[in-house]
């Protein structure tokens, strides 16, 4: 993982696309080093043969069936699909709680760095997976488009995520620990090219500050 990429993503979360004031930058470096030396991202994934019928994706040898037009579109050329769950774990969660009491400004920076860290980690992991499983589509997570959050607990169950990496979902389908990502990634035989999908299907497309500036949020970063 490159620090530069992590910092770039983190700064964009903090509302800047360039270097900020001296005190903030110092704090960013201290906290990034803290994260690098203490956080172990954990992940678990499995690969499933899938079949799609009328916007319903069935995962072979499992109880999982998902109805989602947007996910079906993404996976339309994928005979197989990776389901992946990743988390930065409890340590980060406790650190965020610590900062929420002790220093909200530090907490803001730490939160942005942690979010960037897990994004970059997954981007790197994506590149690794791409070597073994050409060709991968983009990552698509519950909450995107019409892929409902309700699928989280089923997905976590399938991967034994609670046991393997300590990742759970609340009754409102919120992932805990918070700095966590679950995603579907299609494996297709030809290179994946359709990049329009994400912004068009996002609920915030009309109010998104980044989109107004012609930028993308972290979800699109792994697009070449």
């Amino acid at each position: 993982m490159e620090d530069i990429r992590i910092l770039e993503i983190a700064r964009s979360y903090l509302g800047s696309n360039s270097i900020m004031d001296e005190v903030t930058e110092k704090k960013i470096n201290v906290l990034l080093n803290d994260i690098k030396s203490t956080v172990i991202p954990r992940y678990v994934y499995n690969i499933y043969d899938i079949s799609i019928n009328s916007d319903v994706i069935s995962f072979k040898d499992t109880v999982l069936k998902i109805k989602s037009k947007d996910l079906s579109d993404l996976l339309k050329s994928s005979p197989k699909c990776i389901i992946i769950a990743c988390t930065l774990g409890n340590y980060v969660e406790n650190k965020l709680r610590h900062f929420s009491k002790y220093s909200v400004s530090d907490g803001l920076i730490y939160d942005a760095l942690a979010a960037a860290y897990i994004e970059e980690f997954l981007n790197d992991l994506n590149n690794e997976l791409e070597k073994d499983y050409e060709h991968l589509t983009m990552r698509y997570s519950p909450g995107y488009g019409d892929l409902k959050l309700e699928v989280q607990p089923i997905l976590l169950n399938l991967l034994h995520a609670q046991k393997r990496i300590g990742l759970t979902a609340t009754e409102e389908y919120l992932l805990i620990p918070r700095k966590s990502i679950t995603a579907f990634i299609g494996i297709q035989n030809t290179p994946w090219v359709d990049a329009k999908i994400l912004c068009d299907t996002c609920k915030l497309k009309d109010v998104c500050e980044l989109r107004k500036e012609g930028k993308f949020c972290g979800a699109r970063k792994n697009i070449k």
């Binding site: 903090l14 509302g15 900020m20 004031d21 005190v23 903030t24 704090k27 172990i40 954990r42 994934y45 499995n46 690969i47 499933y48 995962f59 040898d61 499992t62 109880v63 999982l64 197989k80 774990g89 409890n90 340590y91 969660e93 406790n94 965020l96 709680r97 610590h98 929420s100 009491k101 002790y102 220093s103 909200v104 400004s105 907490g107 803001l108 920076i109 939160d111 909450g143 959050l149 089923i154 169950n157 399938l158 609670q162 046991k163 393997r164 990496i165 300590g166 759970t168 609340t170 009754e171 409102e172 389908y173 919120l174 805990i176 620990p177 918070r178 609920k203 915030l204 009309d206 109010v207």
Partner: protein, 790 residues
Amino acid sequence: MELEKILNKKVIVFDGAMGTMIQREGLVGGEIPDLYNVENPEIVKKIQKEYVDAGADIITTNTFGSNSFKLNETPYSVDTVISAAVNIIKEIRKDQLIALGLSSTGKLLEPIGSLTFEDAYNTFKEQVIAGVNAGADIILLETFSDLQETRAAILACKENSSVPVFCTMTFQDNGRTLTGTDPKTFVNVVQDLGIDVLGVNCSLGPKEIAPIVEEILEYSLLPVMVQPNAGLPVLENNETVFKLTKEEYVDQLKPLMEKGIAVVGSCCGSDPSFTKLIKKTFGRQIVKQRNVKRRTVACSSTESVFMDKRIKIIGERINPTGKKKIKQALIENKFDYIINEAIDQINSGADILDVNVGLPSIDEKTVMLNVLKELDGVINAPLQIDSSNIEVLEAACRSYNGKTIINSVNGKKEIMDLVFPIAKKYGASLVALTLDEEGIPTTCEKRVEIAEKIIKEAKKHGIAEERLLIDNLVLTASAQQEGVIETLKSIGKIKNKYNIRTTLGASNVSFGLPNRHMLNKTFLVMALTYGLDAPITDPTTLDIVDHIKSFEVLNYLDVESTEYIAYMDSRQIDNYSNNKLFTKSKDIKNIIVNGLKDEIEEVTINLLEKEEPLFLVDNYIIPSLDEVGNLYNDGKIYLPQLIRSAETVKKSFDLIKIKINESGLSNLKSNKIIIATVKGDIHDIGKNIVKVILENYGYDVIDLGKDVPIDVIIDNIKKYDIKLVGLSALMTTTVVNMQETICKIKEEKLDCKILVGGAVLTPEYAETINADFYCKDARETAEVANNFFK
């Protein structure tokens, strides 16, 4: 098999994996294997018969997920699935014991998750009763990764059955569980909870698990159990497989077994052929006995603090006696201040923190439980529970996530009879005051006598002397000068006679004399020289820690003075960097705009000596805030700096408020605003930023926290007669709870307006849900509030 006859004498063999075995029989991904007990019992029976034939001494029920949460969506009750599981084994066992296999609820407990300790306990209780009623001989708690959940499960076992309890947690390759518990802390916490066997299972193969097991063997006074996986998981052909052969497995286990393992089995990826070879190789071998050192220790869930040769500092600041700000914080339920005191003490060098929330005007039990919960995970140091109320002690010990120290028990029979059972049940250590029915003794000899009485009585309750910290009580030098040395002598005497640790509150002695700090420091060093192990003191007081560090050099504890040198070096750096910034900017506006939190207090104090507080606010603070706001709007500074400025202003305000109150000016009556993140949502950074900004503008912000139930919001609106409420939500699924909250508020016809914000919100949606105001960020919130209260 008669367990008591064999346990810890000859090696006992458990069965192997069930989950992976059922997968081979066609279990589909996402299906619950436990349901096979009811829907396909022949398959379960077949597998377990193979384990019986392979020679297993104990067979585990197929009930890894048989709790009310996981079975919720199925047509079966916990009792149905568990009794079916037990009965299957009953049909095929010969002299094997049946182990009720229980594991995690699958949910994270408070404060990180939302599952309460009580709800977790009740889930386990339900399972325990079902299993024991059906005929289980022992209970196996396995594959737990969270210490608090483990505690709930153990208590559920101990309070609802009398069968032996075996408890294994699962550790990752970094040597900790997923929620951060290391092996020795696990051992220290659970081994005094009345269980019979402890150990580790799953996640790792025998080779990787070895260092974890070795640490457990070093600390555990109980027999140790291991059930590793058949190696590390590997993804092969869309399937997760474990690659060790049974021969490799047994080979890798051999060196561990020789170190004293009493119970052995196998976990994921294993099968009856593994069990057969394990039984052949290790079954009924003599268990190597270990000589385990007896240690005095206190634990959080992530850290063990041992009272060994080194001095351990117990921080005393969290105590309302004589501390106005703490009193205020406790009365108003504003725990942030207390959390900050805790963090400051840790940063100053405290190893353990004493927590006392005893105030007549509050519900001590509820407040204590809330403070403990807030501190859990935010600091890593163990906590010492300080209360004279038995109910509070019991409730606190029950829910404390670790091994606490009870402050205190003493030599009075009545007190010992009440407190020792609590310490015994929850595995707590205790501070023991050497006073009895006759009061505080005057002589060294009497103190030693009482200490002996306490030690003897503790033993009767099954509490060994290493769980006691003797506090010989020092009175004031002003009233009983000749008594001071008696206290010190008794420390030495007791430590000579018994292998026991001592503690002492070192600040009492100076009461009533000038320059208390000088007397306290001197007394501290004298006490340390007599053998004091754990002074209860204020580590944030100038040079208390310096004295302790110096003592450790001179008493040859800090070998080659490495720690002392590093400590003194780091203090130099702090001073230097503070000075550097200070010489650059003394101007208060500059300090606020740049968010220099470390410099604001000195400058504010200086200004308050020259000017009236309100003059300061109007002529320095407000203009600076306006400047910061403008710079931010113009894109010249960014959010982190904005918030840091706000925090800097807050620090200044805290001092200004004190001055205003002292000078008897009419209390700045501030408008109250409630803020909360709605039920189901735990995102709170935005809300916290709003809080800091609103406080800058003088509002009294009542922060109800996150995941706040609707009725809590309603109750607080009524309680404080609130006119403005701010709600935050960051998920599409929780924003509906916002709507519900607003509905309820309007239903109750409360005279109160609602302001909403959060990433997923839009002005249109805010209108749809009947909110009165929509704010896109913290500054807009402040503007709206300012206009509202005009």
